[in-house]
């Protein structure tokens, strides 16, 4: 069952929901604010293209079945480039002072200022990241594919923000582009995490190389 503002406040006070006590709580959701502009990153497609070129791969390809976020994020996420006044700029995301411009077709990852989630121990709630309806009408897409904050996880959420509309978005720190809804789970999960085998992706043999 989704939680109302009263239930959300109660859960925060009891330590069952991790959230800034001063966060803005709507009737059934909590606003999520963008962190400082330094916490906005884009994929460095040029760098990947160069690396792939060396490997004989003609495109900046990513094999999603073998995608290792921990390695890719450190290697290929970078700060957006400085603003270029030329309207024909190829940069779909760029920084103008303390603002971020996201042109049509642009995609940016931006950490939330708010640490949210549920305790690792005996979680009783699950959270979902959702967009803000009026802002969505501009063509803003926020965190649509994987909105679930699993029971037992907490942290700054890295929002996936895309511009599907015809306008250029201007985003800055503290802007609210998304909200969090909270639901009580029917019981504390027996297994809170996915079991993986020894051949799981995300593993690598670096024994002796550290």
């Amino acid at each position: 069952m989704y939680q109302s503002d009263r239930d959300i406040q109660w859960a925060i006070q009891k330590g069952l929901l991790i959230c800034d006590p001063n966060a803005k709580i709507d009737p059934t959701s909590i606003d999520l604010r963008l962190d400082s502009i330094d916490a906005a990153k884009i994929w460095d497609v040029d760098k990947l293209r160069q690396d792939n070129d060396i490997a004989g791969i003609p495109e900046p390809e990513v094999r999603l079945g073998e995608f290792r976020y921990s390695q890719w994020s450190v290697k290929y996420l970078c700060a957006p480039p400085k603003y270029d006044k030329m309207p024909s700029s190829k940069d779909l995301v760029c920084r103008r002072g303390e603002e971020l411009l996201v042109r049509p077709g642009g995609f940016v990852l931006w950490q939330t200022k708010d640490v949210i989630g549920t305790p690792q121990s005996n979680p009783q709630f699950i959270c979902f990241v959702d967009g803000k309806s009026t802002r969505a009408r501009t063509g803003l897409l926020v965190h649509l594919t994987a909105p679930t904050i699993h029971a037992g996880w907490s942290g700054n959420v890295v929002l996936e923000i895309a511009n599907l509309g015809p306008l250029t978005f201007v985003l800055q720190e503290d802007d609210v582009t998304a909200q969090l809804t909270v639901a009580r789970i029917s019981s504390v999960p027996e297994h809170t995490h996915v079991e993986v085998g020894s051949t799981t992706i995300g593993q690598k043999d670096v024994t002796g190389k550290q």
């Binding site: 330590g15 991790i18 962190d35 330094d38 916490a39 990153k41 290792r68 976020y69 921990s70 390695q71 994020s73 450190v74 996420l77 990852l109 950490q111 640490v115 305790p119 690792q120 121990s121 005996n122 699993h150 037992g152 996880w153 907490s154 942290g155 700054n156 890295v158 297994h191 809170t192 995490h193 996915v194 079991e195 993986v196 020894s198 799981t200 995300g202 593993q203 690598k204 043999d205 670096v206 024994t207 550290q210």
Partner: protein, 105 residues
């Protein structure tokens, strides 16, 4: 009830200020690498990581808070903050956590 424990790990910087990459040696000798929010980690002296730790390109030894699922001999199955589960040797476990140590600020 599943228990929270600290696992020894190597901590590296992540792509975002609130994120760190961690490496844990599994019981089969392979190293697992994942990503987790900063507050799941502690330095070996028990202190929290600062926003500048570890330094860029650097790494440090520390611990990560995980959920102990079950044990079989020396093998311990643990659930990681990145939503995966792995098996480690019991010698990798640094300590059991108290409830007060778990709530991030």
């Amino acid at each position: 009830m599943n228990q929270l424990v600290n696992l020894r790990c190597v901590i590296l910087r992540g792509a975002f200020p609130g994120e760190r990459v961690f490496q844990i040696v599994q019981s089969d000798g392979e190293t697992y690498e994942g990503t987790a929010p900063e507050h799941y980690f502690r330095k070996l002296d028990g202190g929290r990581l600062s926003t500048s730790e570890p330094k860029p390109e650097g790494k440090l030894n520390g611990v990560i808070s995980v959920v102990r699922l079950r044990e079989s001999g020396d093998d311990v199955r643990v659930a990681l903050p990145d939503n995966e589960a792995i098996s480690v040797s019991s010698s990798v476990i640094a300590s059991q956590l108290t409830e007060n140590e778990l709530v991030p600020v």
